[in-house]
Symmetry: C2
Subunit: 222 residues, 2 copies
Amino acid sequence: MADDAKSPLDRPGQVPEVAVSRLPQYVRALSQLLADRVEVVNSQQLGEMLQITSPQIRKDLSYFGRFGKQGRGYSVRHLLVELQGILGLDHGWNVAVVGVGRRGRAILSYPWFTPAGFRLVAAFDGDPETVGQQVGELTVRPIEELDWAVRELQVRIAIVAVPSNQTQQVIDRLVGCGVRALLNYAPVMPLVRKGVRVQNIDPVLALQSMTCYLASEGLGPD
Amino acid sequence: MADDAKSPLDRPGQVPEVAVSRLPQYVRALSQLLADRVEVVNSQQLGEMLQITSPQIRKDLSYFGRFGKQGRGYSVRHLLVELQGILGLDHGWNVAVVGVGRRGRAILSYPWFTPAGFRLVAAFDGDPETVGQQVGELTVRPIEELDWAVRELQVRIAIVAVPSNQTQQVIDRLVGCGVRALLNYAPVMPLVRKGVRVQNIDPVLALQSMTCYLASEGLGPD
DNA sequence: TAGATTGTTAATCGATTAACAATC
DNA sequence: TAGATTGTTAATCGATTAACAATC
């Protein structure tokens, strides 16, 4: 909100989305290097870990600043901290889960989110049977509380795991309460207004696009 | 393998990967239209369902043939059948699941795969506790049987849901047995030789790339 | 025939790669 | 200083969009 636009993300139009989408991969690789007590890494090595070319990595990083030292490479710790800052992973985002069926339950039970910079703070379900159950660290709340609680907890990120036919409506409601980033597990492509981001997790689609190549190579099972 | 290259996918170099990756979405939308008794659809309408521009759709389809009628649009049933054929979804691919932890269990229990053109035919796990259990329609086999069974069943597609540190090794083994398409659920980027396809399902990465935009818009939770 | 929509060609746009000067 | 690797500019590549002729 400051007037003097210094951060490269105050001008996000300049940064290609693909570059942003690769940043979390860099963070992950750097975390691993840090855990392995590696102190310095160059773009070549980082590229090998992730199967990305080294100029690609240097170019991606250059959109956000100058983090390396010529002739030497990047300080693992320093680059990691910088990228986490750029991605906002140091914020501890509050995340809500909507839909506590099988999928939602799995998400709530796994402990991956906290280390990744997220905090699961609320779970909602429409089924009275499910409401009140303890799943992972949370007690499932009735869907009626959604608007109130999402605003109260300043939730900006939601994971939606409700049936396809309810997805659009649930997402509209969440967006109305201030949610700006959504992970959707239903096999539909929800429509959201500009400024709101949706990522669809759709393993079947991923699988189906690969069969195309198998089919063309005569690898059919018959 | 035929000498007379008629099918557009005998020359897959010409077809952009992005176009192929959109085909399953068209299949899904067309299936829905068919279920809704819609007989004809045009590129505009299809585009609205999927948030893809109409010229994009026409271009994608044009890589594979001429399926529409000018002035009228596409026959839902005909286009659906054609695209299913191109993607090889009419084959009934045999699919193996490796790793029957939480994630693998969820995959085996859900019934989405068969309608999508896949048949889960084997499940493997290294843990003697898990081996022999009935999960969904299948009995979990010991990992030792993997090579034999994958060859025997002519499995070309595998879903890998093993811990990160075992993923590369399991995938190498599967590829050695003839698997050519893999869905990987571990947060690592496995390396495979040319001609083998991997799709990584990585919700945390998807989530982390969205926070970048939230952070830059001053929507932090503090 | 008139109207509509496809299929395709050409123009634009954006992302990747190559190459190298800057510099640690 | 010599060697190495970054950061950046320019060239290439590929994908999307615009526009329209073909044709149902």
